[in-house]
């Protein structure tokens, strides 16, 4: 999405140096920039140090998840003596992490898809109609981006308790949709605005209904934007902890973030450090895979609001 966003913006002054553009690689600066002053060397060294440190932390997490419990502390920087893949089995079965993972997968998938579906529906007319009311509506959504989550927890808890929906994944689903909508609508409205209007006009002249135009003309065009919106929602909901912590009590209904918190709490007594890190990796690895697969979409989407 933002791919298009970014391209339309940058391609005029300067084509983005991406793989294969060959001699158009103007992103790399001219001669003087290459000169190796001490300041430059120092700066570059600092950047590398930072990056390697980040890498080291994640390699350390991964290796710790394959060590015996004792080794996690005794030999933090070495390779495991014996590669203990059974840590993952212990984590998965031991602390309900398996159930929690499934809960999270379903909840996150349902909430993200639903949010993006109704978000896209709303964003489409908001991006097309230049009226006062649509600007006000958009503003109404954007304001929500500034409300810290803790502002809604007390009333939401009271309301959900009244509906007997605390301690249910359904209740959490509704709140997740509510707080994910502002950013989703904002992002998708911005994206829809970059799409050409000619195709819709043609479809309207051909007698397509409004919904049909949206579904068969706009949605395919908007796919990159939709993918980005989905990804960002998946990342933020996968990691959401505050609402889950407040609303879910039963172990069987825990989300993954909650389960790992609980697991961490019991670890202080039973010292199953290896299994704890296996749990940590179960939280991190899906995001890592998503990032390796669609990282550019995620990064572009997250930076989009600010650079537009």
């Amino acid at each position: 999405m933002a791919v298009q966003f970014a391209d339309q913006r940058t391609s005029e002054p300067r084509p983005r140096p991406r793989g294969g553009t060959g001699r158009l690689r103007r992103g790399t600066p001219a001669p003087l920039a290459r000169r190796r002053t001490p300041l430059r060397m120092l700066g570059m060294a600092a950047v590398w140090l930072w990056v390697l440190f980040n890498l080291a932390i994640f390699v350390w997490m991964l290796l710790s998840s394959l060590k015996s419990d004792g080794e996690v502390f005794a030999d933090p920087w070495g390779l495991p003596n014996v590669w203990r893949f059974d840590n993952y089995v212990r984590a998965w079965e031991g602390s309900d992490l398996g159930t929690a993972t499934l809960n999270s997968v379903f909840l996150v998938a349902a909430a993200s898809v639903f949010t993006v579906a109704i978000g896209a529906l709303a964003a489409y007319p908001l991006s097309r109609l230049q009226s006062r009311s649509s600007n006000v509506t958009l503003m109404y959504f954007v304001l929500g981006m500034g409300v810290p989550l803790q502002s809604i927890v007390v009333p939401a808890y009271i309301a959900m308790a009244g509906l007997n929906m605390t301690n249910t994944l359904g209740g959490l689903f509704l709140l997740y949709v509510g707080f994910s909508l502002p950013f989703t609508v904002f992002l998708l409205t911005g994206f829809f605005r970059t799409l050409p209007t000619r195709l819709e006009e043609a479809a309207a002249l051909d007698g397509c209904s409004a919904f049909r135009t949206f579904r068969s003309v706009m949605l395919p065009l908007a796919r990159p934007g939709i993918v980005t919106a989905l990804l960002l929602n998946v990342v933020s909901l996968w990691n959401e902890t505050l609402l889950a912590l407040i609303f879910i009590i039963d172990d069987g209904r825990q989300t993954l973030a909650l389960a790992i918190l609980g697991f961490y709490g019991t670890m202080l007594y039973n010292s199953a450090w290896g299994a704890l890190f296996a749990g940590v990796c179960i939280v991190v690895l899906p995001m890592l895979l998503l990032y390796l697969w669609l990282g550019k979409n995620i990064m572009d989407g997250m930076t989009l609001g600010a650079t537009k």
Binding site: R40, A46, W60, M61, L121, Q150, A159, L245, G265
Partner: protein
């Protein structure tokens, strides 16, 4: 920005055929059914609760079964005489300012250097990655590294003969500074990438001019990058205010779970949670709401102030 204007202009001209064009009529018809579902969900499950917190903040309410008691502004008056509240409030401001200063300084630093390094896309991706990881997990990792007796940091210092640098990192003295540092580490990636995305839009020709004029890297940054990044930085600052005020999980999990986080580390969001849900005693839903109202106002004021402070003549490029 320019892009948006352009596209809205083009759609305006396309609609210039008059309000009666079939497309326009169609768009108008679909507006309500398309927008309503999102508006309803958002209003019911987000806006209504945030407004309701204003009402609840005027009562004393100890949760289910208790009759809410009208206090007027009593909760707010009490808040300001409450050491724990003041501590949490000040801590939030410290997070905002100290962590904010670190991440923007580092963010600009990385932006200046990474742009000129080989493999900048890889570097950027690696700088960004921590932003995708659940803060709880990062807090756990740091807990293991900083553990005073067995943690990787102290044992490593010992092993390389720097044992005298060992500290009780998670002790009452150092735990909050450690939270600030590790939070900065965790958050830098997102803000760096935002600044870098802004820097990407700066036309290369300007840098070529710099090179012809023989500018140093510092001059290039000061004369070109910084002024042209200003607007992006202003938006990023607003984003940081919001992020900082709602930061919860990381601080909550940092000191270990099972016991309440030590009071010296409480921020506004932790306070809301502990007052409303986390403490052993009866919940104080009214007071928790009062805190969240205060923070909402703080966010609003800061955003307005920031926009004022950072707004400048817009630089067109």
């Amino acid at each position: 920005m320019t892009d948006l204007k352009h596209s809205s202009a083009s759609s305006a001209t396309s609609g210039a055929g008059g309000a009666t064009s079939p497309l326009d009529a169609q768009r108008r018809r679909l507006r309500l059914p398309f927008i309503l579902p999102a508006v309803i969900f958002y209003t019911v499950f987000f806006v209504a609760p945030s407004l309701a917190s204003f009402v609840i903040s005027l009562y004393r309410w100890r949760g289910a079964g208790d009759e809410p008691e009208w206090l007027g502004l009593g909760n707010f008056l009490r808040l300001f005489n409450d050491d724990i509240f003041r501590g949490a409030f000040v801590n939030t401001l410290i997070v905002l300012l100290v962590v904010g200063a670190i991440i923007f300084a580092l963010g600009f630093f990385f932006t200046a250097f990474v742009a000129e390094m080989r493999g900048k896309h890889l570097l950027r991706a690696l700088i960004f990655f921590p932003s995708l990881v659940n803060p709880v997990v990062l807090a756990i990792a740091w807990g293991f590294i900083l553990d005073p007796t067995r943690g990787a940091l102290n044992t490593t210092l010992e092993a390389i003969g720097l044992g005298n640098l060992k500290q009780v990192w998670l002790g009452p003295q150092l735990i909050f500074p450690m939270i600030l540092l590790t939070m900065a580490w965790m958050t830098v990636g997102l803000f760096t990438v935002i600044l870098m995305a802004g820097a990407d839009r700066i036309p290369v020709s300007l840098y070529e001019d710099c090179d012809l004029a023989g500018a140093s890297i510092g001059q290039r940054f000061r004369m070109v990058t910084l002024p042209l990044l200003w607007e992006v930085a202003a938006v990023a600052a607003v984003l940081w205010v919001i992020t900082a005020v709602k930061a919860f999980e990381f601080i909550y999990a940092f000191a270990g779970v099972g016991t309440a986080p030590p009071r010296s580390t409480w921020t506004a969001s932790v306070y809301v949670y502990m007052q409303g849900f986390g403490s052993q005693g009866l919940p104080e839903l009214g007071r928790a709401s009062a805190m969240s109202v205060v923070m909402l106002i703080v966010v609003g004021v800061l955003v307005v102030v920031l926009r004022r402070l950072m707004s400048r003549q817009k630089v067109e490029f």
